[in-house]
């Protein structure tokens, strides 16, 4: 089993568009992947391949989350999802119009 815990710095948290990207990335792995929002509701575990479960974790900027994967590609899955969140999800709504 591979697991990582870190703090989300993406200003918009994990709303619809980033959540879609997160879930699509997760779906690319065979491992079963679970996400928890340690800052809000430690007990609830969400399936990383379910957009609604991920969205309803209510992940906001500054929240600490945990990603846990179990399966043949568990380490790669955890790394990829961590990197995705670190990269800030390519937020287009933050583009200034000048």
């Amino acid at each position: 089993m591979a697991e990582t815990q870190f703090i989300v710095t993406n200003p918009a948290g994990l709303h619809a568009r980033p959540a879609a990207l997160f879930v699509r990335t997760a779906a690319g792995f065979q491992s079963s992947i679970r996400v928890r929002n340690l800052s809000r509701d430690v007990g609830r575990e969400a399936d990383a391949k379910s957009i609604l479960s991920v969205m309803t974790l209510g992940i906001e900027q500054g929240h600490e989350i945990s990603i846990k994967a179990e399966g043949p590609d568990e380490a790669a899955a955890v790394d990829a999802l961590h990197a995705l969140i670190d990269a800030g999800f390519n937020e287009s709504d933050a583009v200034s119009t000048r």
Binding site: L14, M55, D93
Partner: protein
């Protein structure tokens, strides 16, 4: 029928006169009648078939939304994922199998369960995403009942005004705007996906009209004012006449502006002003030409870098720039290099946590710190510039050293391309955005280093006034026409005019009817704006006398 006036919220502007078509699909889910054990599997199969119908509709909506541009297509990506979601669909199947609920009730119950989870979220934006769950569930329930989306109503006559409890983004994406002239809904807001998409296609929308579905009769004449949020059912002859006059005036104004397309923007006393378009993607070139743009005054290259997992390569950028240059022919195309920063991250470009991203590593500052990204983009621009008339522009320049550092990179690339024998334009015009107060103050020195200026009034105002223009609490403090701004603009224009180099404004002020006379008065002869603002700007300029405006402007800044 007597005249009835209803007040709602203007969600998308425009005036329309048409006949009511009430779209009443999915008014309510009937109370469940539990199904028998042997009917369970067929009911699950029915649910799955309905999901596939909903999926097909969402995919065509996605295609339609992508065609009309904008970010709305992304919404459907999230919706399509929800159609496969165990929390919604898996739960619906469980409720059919274990609770023996009919499919429609199972979906409604599963959606209600998910919405409850959303309700507990503290963040308002995320909480409101519950609306997306409702939309997806409704699409499945419509398919289950055999209801077609409003766009599929083959009987829709011309001049139809759709009246509904609620409409969804996918409904609007697929509407035939040749037949549907307006939308009126009970639920919805100015910021809903529906309103945004309707504005993009020029369809008037009034939302928040209580009881309108019950009040209106099918086929009844109705007038819709998407600006004031007014809906009048069976208008009296006098009311109808007034609205008809407004509609005619609106159409006339539109036609007059279209006629203006091919006439130049010249003031009454003979001063010629060039009107250019700001664009964000190659797909906007055609619209820019249709509105009469004499060039692209600002091509924002950010779209190439955002919403993707990897950085765009040189070839991809080269093709994009060349496509725009080809589309514009002989007309100039100003390409602005990547303008992102800590406030708008790009994958692979990490910026340390900044306390103050607007005062941080943005624009040229970021490009100079990421030479690989900067060099790739400049190489693509230099190579594409063999086509048409491409200019290059750097954003967020503060000092002369900034300009010189950028020019060193550009010079080394020209040398490299020449050595390798790759076709490029060595004498490409090089300009900078004037959007930092320091740059405006030093405009007379900076102009010695570059070929042109373009004033970015949005950021300049933000920095000069020390007001975040997205901060609603400070909305009244954001005054981009403050004397301080006018003085800096005048200073910048004078510096460029003194040495005979072009200077433009490419911020929102350039297309602002109130600002245009002042900008002309301050000596600007090039304005770059959203393509749709060009006809109105032309109309304004043709009614001005440059000499009078110069006098007024001088008085304002004296």
């Amino acid at each position: 029928m007597a005249e009835r006036r209803c007040q709602g919220v203007g969600a998308a502007p425009g005036i329309a006169i048409g006949r009511v078509f009430r779209y009443t699909a999915m008014a309510a889910v009937p109370d469940p009648e539990l199904i028998k054990e042997e009917a369970v599997e067929p009911e699950v199969a029915r649910l799955r078939a309905a999901i596939e119908i909903a999926r097909a509709r969402m995919m065509s909506a996605r295609v339609a939304a992508a065609r009309s541009g904008g970010d709305e297509a992304d919404i459907f990506d999230a919706h399509l994922l929800m159609l496969d979601d165990p929390a919604l669909i898996g739960e619906s199947e469980r409720r059919i199998r274990e609770d023996h609920l009919p499919a429609a009730n199972a979906v409604a119950a599963a959606a209600a369960g998910v919405r409850q989870l959303f309700d507990q979220i503290e963040d308002a934006y995320l909480r409101e995403r519950a609306a997306d769950v409702t939309e997806v569930a409704t699409q499945v329930m419509r398919a289950l009942r055999g209801d077609t989306p409003p766009s599929a109503a083959r009987t829709l006559p011309p001049d139809t005004v759709i009246v509904a409890e609620e409409l969804f983004a996918s409904d609007v994406a697929l509407l035939d705007t040749g037949r549907v002239v307006a939308l009126v809904t009970v639920r919805g807001s100015r910021t809903s996906h529906v309103a945004i998409m309707a504005r993009a296609v020029g369809l008037p929308v009034v939302s928040g009209v209580a009881d309108i579905v019950a009040l209106a009769q099918d086929g009844e004449v109705v007038t819709v004012d998407g600006e004031r949020g007014e809906v009048v059912l069976s208008p009296d002859p006098r009311t109808l006449e007034t609205v008809q006059e407004q509609l005619a005036a609106e159409r006339q104004a539109q036609a007059r502006r279209t006629q203006l397309r091919d006439v130049p923007a010249v003031t009454d006393d003979g001063t010629r002003v060039a009107l250019l378009a700001n664009i964000g993607a190659p797909g906007e070139v055609e619209a820019a030409l249709n509105q009469g743009a004499e060039g692209i005054g600002l091509f924002r290259t950010e779209f190439l870098f955002l919403e993707r997992d990897e950085l765009p390569g040189e070839i991809e950028q080269f093709r994009t720039y060349q496509e725009i240059a080809k589309g514009m022919g002989e007309r100039p195309v100003v390409i602005r290099t990547l303008d992102v920063g800590g406030d708008k991250p790009v994958p692979g470009v990490s910026v340390a946590d900044e306390m103050n991203p607007f005062l941080g590593v943005r624009g040229l500052r970021l490009s100079l710190r990421h030479p690989e990204i900067f060099r790739t983009q400049l190489r693509a621009i230099l190579r594409a510039a063999t086509e048409g008339d491409i200019w290059v522009m750097f954003p967020m320049v503060t000092t002369i050293e900034d300009v010189r550092a950028a020019r060193v990179v550009l010079g080394s690339l020209v040398a490299e391309l020449r050595a390798k024998g790759i076709p490029h334009r060595a004498d490409i015009p090089v300009g900078i955005m004037i959007e930092v107060p320091a740059a405006a103050m030093n405009a007379d020195r900076l102009i010695e280093e570059v070929d042109f200026f373009s004033i970015g009034t949005n950021d300049l105002a933000q920095y000069v006034l020390a007001v975040d223009r997205t901060n609603e609490l400070l909305a009244s403090n954001y005054s981009p026409l403050d004397v301080s701004m006018l003085r800096l603009i005048e200073r910048t224009v004078s510096a460029a005019v003194a040495v005979g180099k072009p200077v433009a404004v490419c911020g929102e002020l350039a297309g602002d009817p109130e600002a245009i006379p002042l900008l002309i008065g301050l000596g600007l002869r090039e304005l770059s704006m959203a393509a749709t603002s060009i006809p109105r700007a032309k109309e304004i300029i043709r009614g001005l006398r440059a000499r009078d405006e110069a006098q007024k402007a001088r008085a304002r800044i004296a």
